[in-house]
Amino acid sequence: MIELKNVVKKYANGVVAIEDLSLKLNRGELIVLKGVSGSGKSTILSLIAGLSKPSSGDIVVDDKHISKLPDHFAAAFRRDNIGFIFQKYNLISSLSVAENILLPLYPLNLPKEELEPRLQEVLNSLSIEDKRDRKVKDLSGGEQQRVAIARASINNPNIILADEPTANLDEKLSLAFIKMLEGLKASNRTVVVATHDPLFFDLESVDRVIEIRDGKVV
């Protein structure tokens, strides 16, 4: 369960991204945050992930007050509970597919025997096992997208956050992506998508569409 209580986020340059926002998201829901660029929806995702701290207000994720956690623990929490899918995939192009997917787990120094089966599972579920050792920069857009999702799910997170995931995709790939997100939701994960892509607004699987404008819920 994700809850934002009276959150305000002001940046150093004076820009107020979020103003007195309160939100409650339940487990297993597929939520769409609708709004144009700069409306603050990406900031909300950042806050939920613990990537940034609010200027005031409280954020509770799965009963943890992550806004109060020092970076050290917030990052650990993020690593264990959250999967992030970015707009431009944000993969590290010089690394291979397998390396990219395992990246979140690197600092844990887990033994190979533990990592291997997880990697296999994720590769299989997205049908990319044959690309495992290829360098990411050699892959097509659709394949990169799948690697991004794989990376976001390697740590078995309860929450998936996606920031404008279909912005660079054509309709076919976008629909494929939506299918994969629905698959994730099916395994009782909370999925929050920040987007202004209209494809998302009329989906059956979407539980709620929340519109954000100028840092406030409409």
Binding site: S46, L51, F86
Partner: protein, 361 residues
């Protein structure tokens, strides 16, 4: 950075190698050398004193030595002449070998290749005429063999029977250049030296140990040079590294932002960057050492060698011995690696504490 390590390493290696060689040479020197003085200036010593030294407990041998220099005008060079007695045992095994090669009944001397060459140039092939103190000439035959032992210091060396040397230096029968004393137990050298001093009031007594210490000190003084090199190195490190690492480009920032977004903590990023630094510096260190070794021992030290050799007129094309001093290696390590890592601490930290969400907009 590798170059810098190599530079410093080379100088230290050369120093060590020469120190080691010098120490080795010192070992063959006599434990105590006693020479006479008049008005604190050098004077020949009476060789009958040697018998008195032998009476001291612990002294195993006391040999009067005859050696000195002879100026060869035509070639504008000084020869070092060492006189050897057929039945005397020197502490220097090389000299002993040479002694066996001399023939004592004919008028014959052994030359080092350089002496032979220069005499040859001046048309002295089979014999040479020494000009004695009183103006007369002494003709000495030149042996067919020559001294073929590589040793830095004795380049213009002539070895001949003692009597001949005496004549050339115009020594009286009982005169000697100095007396070489050997002491059985090395711990007792200093003590025996004091006893000798008690016997001969105003003699000059040099002890082997002192020489070693003196030489060490000389090298350490030369380290004044090193200090300068160190300081330069020190600053260069910082300059290079700060220049390289500060100012993360946006690509790097982005990557770190990604890492943090997927769950890397500040420490994880820091650790990675510091390990990176460690590996680079270790690698440079090893490479630097290897380069220095190659330079010193295969290419013979080149220019840097001259820093040491300038104070004594020494040969250049003598191969430096291979000598690895662990202490030097440790020293080099302590200069290079910690410095490098130190310089990377702040840049790594700046990188690691990049604000992830700002970076990803």
């Amino acid at each position: 950075m590798t170059l810098l390590v190599a530079l410093v390493a080379t100088t230290l290696f050369i120093a060590d190698s020469m120190k080691a060689e010098y120490k080795q040479d010192i070992q063959t020197a006599p434990d105590i050398v006693v020479s006479a003085q008049k008005a604190l200036r050098y004077k020949t010593i009476d060789e009958t004193q040697a018998a008195r030294f032998l009476e001291i407990d612990g002294v195993s041998n006391a040999i009067p030595r005859v050696w000195g220099e002879y100026y060869f005008a035509k070639g504008n060079v000084r020869f070092k002449i060492v006189g050897l007695d057929e039945f005397e045992n020197s502490t220097n095994s090389t000299l002993n070998r040479l002694r066996d090669r001399l023939s004592y009944d004919t008028n014959m001397m052994l030359l080092s290749p350089k002496v032979k060459a220069i005499l040859n140039k001046n048309y002295y092939k089979d014999y040479f005429n020494f000009i004695l103190q009183d103006g007369t000439l002494l003709r000495v035959n030149i042996s067919q063999k020559s001294i073929a032992i590589p040793s830095i210091r004795d380049e213009y060396l002539i070895v001949m029977p003692k009597e001949l040397a005496r004549k050339i230096f115009a020594y009286a029968d009982n005169e000697a250049t100095d007396i070489a004393v050997s002491v059985k137990n090395s711990e007792e050298i200093a003590f025996s030296a004091r006893k000798i001093a008690a016997l001969l009031g105003n003699a000059k007594i040099s002890i082997k140990d002192d020489l070693i210490v003196e030489y060490e000190q000389m090298y350490n003084y030369r380290s004044g040079f090193f200090l300068t090199i160190f300081i330069i190195t020190f600053f260069t490190f910082f300059v290079i590294i700060y220049d390289r690492l500060s100012g993360l480009n946006s690509e790097q920032k982005r990557e770190i932002g990604i890492l943090k977004a997927i769950g890397w903590r500040v420490e994880d990023v820091l650790k990675t960057k510091l390990y990176e630094g460690l590996i680079i510096s270790l690698f440079s260190y090893s490479l630097g050492i290897i380069l220095a070794m190659v330079y010193t021992f295969i290419f013979n030290g080149g220019i840097l060698k001259n820093i040491f050799l300038s104070s004594s007129r020494l040969l250049e094309h003598v191969p430096l011995q291979f000598h690895l001093d662990y202490a030097t290696l440790a020293l080099l390590f302590l200069i290079s690696v910690p410095l490098y890592i130190c310089a990377t601490i702040i840049p790594s930290w700046i990188a690691a504490t990049v604000d992830a969400d700002e970076v990803m907009r």
